[in-house]
């Protein structure tokens, strides 16, 4: 645990040494705030147009925002950059196990994305607790919505880490992660109208479809297991990708 923590801490801190983390967090919050309060017609309008004390729109907006911008940027360099620059050799030849490296890097990146996710708690707190009291917020769906976001973040960061471990190019890692996450996020919308039943079934592996119950206050074990399974698979894949160097 000590080693995982040390690697995660270094990884997390390294984001704040460069302007990367600040830029990503600030831009994401600005973008989220703008869309949430001023609205986009295709996303169901602004918060005030809904006429209800609900944050469903925020939970609808957050996954695409994380998938499009935040997660690919944060995860692209995790292993790819270490391989390219050669720092991986020094890291691996310290007394560490490969899985500790993977978990340390995962928690470092996951921690950064969670900072962004948790920062959005300011929205409900400021609107419904202090300084404004816009009404009685139903805290149940808020809690389940955040649980869904945490699970989604875990899966998305794992996917990004896995892809980063497969290549030594940050750019390749960014675009492949971006493509995979966007595909999984919008897959439900793409196939729901399709006439072929088999394609419609693909909606079951869509992040969008799996997150909807959480944003409505339903904690579905099936959906939770889905996200946890993807996370575990990708972490195991990352471990395999890192071990691959031994036998290349």
């Amino acid at each position: 645990m000590r080693i995982i923590w040390t690697i995660a801490k270094r990884e997390f801190k390294s984001n704040f040494i460069s302007p990367l983390a600040y830029v990503v967090i600030c831009l994401s919050l600005l973008l989220l705030g703008a869309v949430f309060f001023f609205g986009l017609p295709r996303l169901g309008g602004a918060f005030f147009q809904a006429g209800r004390a609900t944050l469903v729109q925020m939970f609808t907006l957050m996954p695409p925002l994380l998938a499009l911008v935040v997660v690919p940027v944060v995860t692209m360099r995790l292993v790819a950059e270490e391989k390219r620059s050669g720092t991986l050799e020094l890291l691996i030849t310290l007394p560490v196990r490969d899985y500790e490296v993977i978990l340390g890097k995962f928690f470092g990146a996951w921690g950064l994305v969670m900072v962004l996710v948790l920062t959005t708690l300011l929205f409900p707190l400021m609107m419904f607790v202090f300084p404004w009291k816009l009404g009685a917020l139903d805290w149940g769906p808020l809690g389940s919505g955040y649980l869904g976001l945490v699970l989604f973040t875990t899966a998305a960061v794992s996917i990004g880490l896995f892809i980063s471990a497969l290549t030594d190019s940050q750019v390749v890692a960014f675009f492949v992660t971006w493509f995979v996450l966007v595909l999984f996020t919008i897959l439900g919308g793409l196939v729901e109208q399709n006439s072929i039943a088999a394609l419609r079934d693909l909606a079951y592996i869509s992040f969008d479809a799996r997150l909807t119950p959480f944003s409505r206050g339903i904690i579905s074990l099936r959906d939770a297991v889905f996200f946890v399974s993807i996370s575990l698979l990708c972490l195991m894949g990352s471990f395999w990708a890192l071990e691959r160097r031994k036998w290349a």
Binding site: R2, T87, E89, T93, P95, A248
Partner: protein, 407 residues
């Protein structure tokens, strides 16, 4: 101590290491030499558990590198070639990170840091970001991280590259100093550094050990000694064998007499003034004909003006061993036919890419060296000095490697 036994590493069809075996005992500082692509870094990466060997075994400090990688890594300090460090961290932060990863107590770490800062000369850059440092300072920090836990074994892959001459001398001096208590495997291209710091050397070429022993042994076994004899061409003295006519010697006489000595060859007359004949010639390994030369001059009544015996420099030996090995490759198969017949053609094709960090894709390099066996035999007939030296080197130099095999 370090024990490598028949280490083999393949990258696809390319054989980066071919049954490399050696031992480094406690308290030894061993130079690990070889041209680019010889397999030095690959060997070190296997010993540090970064990559796995395709065959063979290795033990470091009694622990198997395949079964107990964590124990091995705890015991070694490793400085990879072109040590890459986290540029965004300060030197102090980086060394603290390494210390935390190694589970050192903060008190112990601070105590160790006093030594490391002094030895590596990094006091003035402790607070600076690594990315702002020169290559030399980065190398020093890399050396510092290898020493943080006071390891009994150090594996240093070209630790002095990117250092200026003063820094190099300082690092070599330090390696000598700490080598009294530690096992050190030092890879470098700089043969002068090896001569300065390492009583013993292992020379690898094309993935095989071609020489292993003390520097003196390697020089002697792997190459001829060189003699220089100068005699007065105008005067003789009375004495010695009375039957011999005492007259001023001609150059031909001197050469004929010297060439009758056992094991000498490759005569070359050196330019001198009009009053002396001077010859340079080679002697066979392990023999010393100075007594015979002296006796000969006395018998003939020649005034000997100069008699010099020189072992070959390590650089000459290195060139002969590695070039000879490369040349020998052209006519012979690296892998025994009964072992892996399907690999042979591929092995030959894979020759030519000499980058030290051989990746699988890179293994399919240029095929310039690819020569059929018959052609290689033709090469053998070109009996210049270098070729003969190379033959001798590859025959006699290898203590454990298969370089002595003929094609």
């Amino acid at each position: 101590m370090i024990e490598a036994s028949s280490l083999t590493k393949r990258y696809g069809a390319f054989r980066a290491l071919d049954k490399v075996s050696f031992e480094v005992h406690r308290g030894e500082v061993v130079g690990f030499l070889g041209p680019n692509g010889a397999g030095k870094s690959t060997t070190m990466r296997i010993l540090t558990c970064f990559i796995s060997a395709s065959g063979g075994t290795a033990r470091v400090h009694g622990h198997d590198v395949f079964d107990e990688p964590l124990e091995v890594r705890k015991k070694i300090g490793y400085l990879p070639q072109r040590a890459s460090l986290y540029g965004e961290m300060s030197v102090w932060e980086y060394l603290t990170f390494v210390s935390d990863m190694r589970g050192l107590d903060h008190g112990v770490f601070k105590k160790r840091m006093r030594d490391i800062v002094e030895v590596c000369g990094i006091a003035q850059v402790l607070g600076k970001d690594i990315r702002t440092l020169s290559h030399g300072y980065r190398q020093r920090v890399g050396l510092g991280q290898a020493l943080v836990h006071n390891p009994p074994i150090l594996i240093l892959d070209e630790p002095t590259s990117d250092l200026d001459p003063n820094e190099k001398a300082e690092v070599i001096r330090y390696i000598k100093e700490i080598g009294k208590e530690r096992t050190i495997l030092l890879s470098t291209h700089n043969l002068a550094e090896v001569e300065a710091a390492c009583p013993r050397a292992i020379i690898v070429s094309k993935g095989r050990v071609v020489a292993d022993g003390s520097l003196e042994d390697i020089r002697t076994k792997s190459g001829r000694v060189r003699y220089v004899v100068t005699v007065d061409e105008q005067r003789t003295f009375e004495g010695g064998a009375k039957a011999v006519k005492k007259s001023a010697p001609t150059a031909q006489e001197v050469q004929d007499a010297l060439s009758a000595l056992p094991g000498v060859s490759h005569f070359k007359e050196l330019p001198t003034d009009d009053r002396a004949h001077s010859f340079e010639f080679g002697g066979s390994p392990g023999s010393d004909v100075r007594h015979d030369i002296f006796q000969l001059c006395v018998q003939k009544g020649w005034y000997m003006l100069e008699l010099r015996r020189e072992a070959r420099s390590l650089e000459d030996v290195f060139k002969a061993l590695t070039k000879g090995d490369e040349r020998a490759d052209r006519g012979r198969k690296i892998v025994a036919e009964e072992e892996e017949p399907e690999d042979e053609a591929e092995d030959e094709e894979a020759e030519g890419d000499d980058d030290d960090e051989v990746e699988g894709d890179e293994a399919e390099g240029d095929d310039d060296d690819e020569v059929e066996g018959d052609e290689a035999e033709g090469d053998d007939d070109e009996g210049d000095d270098k070729d003969e030296d190379a033959d001798e080197a590859s025959n006699a130099g290898a203590k454990k490697g298969p370089s002595g095999k003929k094609g």
